[in-house]
């Protein structure tokens, strides 16, 4: 068992400045937990606090049922993969991997066996006697992973390990890491600011802002039901469209008025959101829920195309109507001229509503 429990942990830099504030989180044994957020949100600090590299000013951290809050990093049995890889430049790949086992006095033949195994899994056999300087970025990344694996720690902590790789390699390593995690099965905390990594890799994701947790949940669940506008916008590119809106309830029908999108809500949404009629709201719709073809429950509106990005498999367009800019993810054959007026359809079955003042999502059942 190697679950991680964070109980109201804070990192106080003094003068009321917090790196992390009152964060509580339980990560189960074998779980792949992604900490996601913009830079400065406290995700790396949280990771470093778990590793013991950053002081925990208040709260408790326990790993595998053991309170490690005041223990030195070496006593916590965690392995960290750093964004910079932090390979020991004066040691060969083999020595880099051996270092942690040597420190822990693992028997020599066991050390060799584990290095051989890790080298095989990661395809590092040809490079074992090279120094890090003689390796490519991707290879260094693998060495950093190998160094963590051979230690056989309770917990893997990864601090944006893919952000220094080029796009193609990043995609490959993403899949490789997931495969590796399945194989090794160790509790993993993975810090990233990339929502694609978070969505594709995490068993659960924990979205942070300003040192606090905004939402924790399975990727698709968080994507489908963001708790507030921050989560809604952070978890996708292009970000969720948000338009100031109001609801009017009259004669059993609920009518939405959100910029250019004006029309009755579908029955299910009408029942759900009727109590919010008259409040100042934000209407949220993801780019893929703006359609080019009509569909039952989708509200047509016309808008002027202001930008078009043909990505190949799909196109991203930005349209403007009534002073509102909206992004839409459309079919690759839909190629309007810039400045052309088009009719689009807002799929209200997938709409979100947030309180305009607090940004919190209006309660929504399944």
């Amino acid at each position: 068992m190697s679950e991680i429990k964070l109980n109201k942990i804070s990192r106080d830099y003094g003068q009321g400045i917090f790196g992390v504030h009152d964060v509580s989180l339980e990560i189960e044994t074998g779980e792949f937990m992604v900490l996601l957020g913009p830079s400065g949100c406290g995700k790396s600090t949280t990771l470093r606090m778990i590793a013991g590299l950053e002081e925990t000013t208040s709260g408790e951290i326990s790993i595998a049922g053991r309170d490690v809050t005041r223990l030195a990093p070496r006593e916590r049995n965690v392995a960290v993969v750093f964004q910079s890889y932090a390979l020991y430049p004066h040691m060969s790949v083999r020595e880099n991997m051996r270092f942690g086992m040597k420190m822990r006095k693992t028997p020599l033949d066991e050390q060799d066996a584990r290095i051989a195994r890790a080298a095989e899994v990661l395809g590092l056999q040809p490079y074992l006697d090279r120094k890090p300087a003689a390796l490519s970025g991707g290879q260094r990344q693998r060495v950093a992973l190998g160094r963590a694996i051979v230690r056989e720690p309770d917990v893997f902590l990864m601090d944006e390990p893919l952000s220094n790789l080029d796009a193609k390699l990043r995609g490959e390593m993403r899949q490789e890491l997931v495969r590796l995690h399945r194989r090794v099965g160790k509790t993993t905390v993975f810090v990233t600011h990339d929502h694609v990594e978070a969505m594709t890799m995490g068993d659960r994701i924990c979205i942070m802002r300003n040192g606090c947790i905004e939402q924790v949940g399975a990727p698709l669940e968080v994507y489908a039901r963001p708790r507030n506008t921050f989560v809604a916008q952070f978890l996708a590119a292009p970000a969720m469209n948000l338009v100031p809106a109001t609801l009017t309830a009259a004669a059993g029908a609920v009518t939405l008025s959100a910029g250019p999108i004006v029309g009755p809500l579908p029955a299910r949404e009408a029942a759900l959101y009727a109590p919010a009629a008259g409040r100042a709201l934000l209407f949220g719709l993801r780019a893929e829920d703006i359609l080019t073809q009509p569909r039952p429950g989708a509200q047509p509106f016309s808008a002027v195309v202001t930008a078009l990005e043909a990505l190949g498999p799909e196109n991203l367009i930005v349209v403007e109507a009534e002073g509102q800019a909206l992004s839409a993810r459309v079919d690759r054959h839909f190629l309007p001229r810039i400045g052309a007026e088009v009719t689009l359809h807002a799929d209200l079955a997938h709409m979100h509503l947030f309180d305009a003042a607090s940004g919190d999502a209006l309660a929504r059942e399944t």
């Binding site: 990093p73 070496r74 392995a79 750093f82 004066h90 120094k131 003689a134 160094r147």
Partner: protein, 265 residues
């Protein structure tokens, strides 16, 4: 054409810098009566060097200089490394300690020479290599601390984080990871400290005696009432710059070498 011109300019600059040194070397190789002639090499002799060692006890001076310069660096280096690391990582003593370290380098040495002399006379450390070594170590310490602090600051902290999560103590991370990575910097600082001690004149003159005179003092003593013994001076200078040239070669190699070669992107 442009390239040729700039090369010509550079060659000229090099000649201007290097000519006096070459001329000193030339003077050390010609008989004393030819020292001031304009002939480049009328005749070549090693008599000047021979005289320097046979009559002036220059071998002793040379050895003194080597002992004092090397010992002072050896004594200083561990202290400077630990102090520099503490300044770099833990901000020990804050800005004040850093400033004090730098400020000590701004005092004119003369201001310290007399008090040091009084102190060392009381302790029986005048006219001794031990005394001179202590002074040079004291002069080197703030200087090397400052230099090493810069080198340590350039080493990514993640390296120590990796070592510490890998199972090393703070000291273990310093000893097994930071020091080896900082080795080029430590070598460079050591060479600079050596040069500083090797060239030091004031304290060597005031605290030393005939047995403990170092090379700079010995060279100055060739300026006698019978005039400057230029051929001996030239021979002495040629020998004195020898270790500096070797050191310069060393330091260049280590300074050029990157600090965190490939550890982090």
């Amino acid at each position: 054409m442009r390239r040729a011109l700039s090369h010509l300019g550079l060659i000229l600059a090099v000649v201007i810098v290097i000519f006096p040194i070459l001329w000193v070397f030339r003077t050390s190789l010609v008989p004393p009566q030819e020292s001031y002639s304009t002939t480049i090499l009328p005749s070549v002799t090693l008599d000047n060097y021979r005289a320097l060692f046979a009559e002036k006890n220059f071998g002793r001076n040379y050895l003194n200089s080597l002992i004092v310069a090397i010992l002072s660096v050896v004594v200083t280096m561990p202290l400077a490394a630990m102090t520099g690391y503490a300044f770099a990582r833990f901000r020990t003593g804050g800005g004040l300690a850093r400033f004090a370290t730098l400020a000590s380098q701004m005092l004119p040495p003369v201001a310290l020479a007399l008090p040091t002399f009084m102190l060392f006379r009381g302790l029986g450390l005048t006219n001794s290599l031990t005394g001179l070594t202590i002074v040079y170590a004291a002069i080197n310490l703030p200087f090397l601390t400052w230099i090493l602090m810069g080198f340590f600051e350039a080493i990514p902290e993640d390296l120590e984080g990796a070592a510490m999560t890998d199972g090393a103590t703070r000291w273990g991370a310093f000893w097994r990871v930071v020091l080896p990575v900082a080795a080029p910097g430590i070598m460079a600082a050591g060479v600079l400290g050596f040069i500083l001690s090797w060239n030091e004149f004031l304290f060597a003159l005031i605290l030393g005696g005939s047995n403990t005179a170092t090379v700079p003092v010995a060279l100055a003593s060739l300026q006698t009432s019978n005039g400057v013994q230029i051929s001996n001076v030239a021979a002495g200078v040629s020998l004195a710059i020898l270790p500096l040239m070797i050191a310069a070669k060393f330091i260049q190699k280590y300074l050029v070498e990157g600090l965190s070669f490939g550890s982090v992107k």
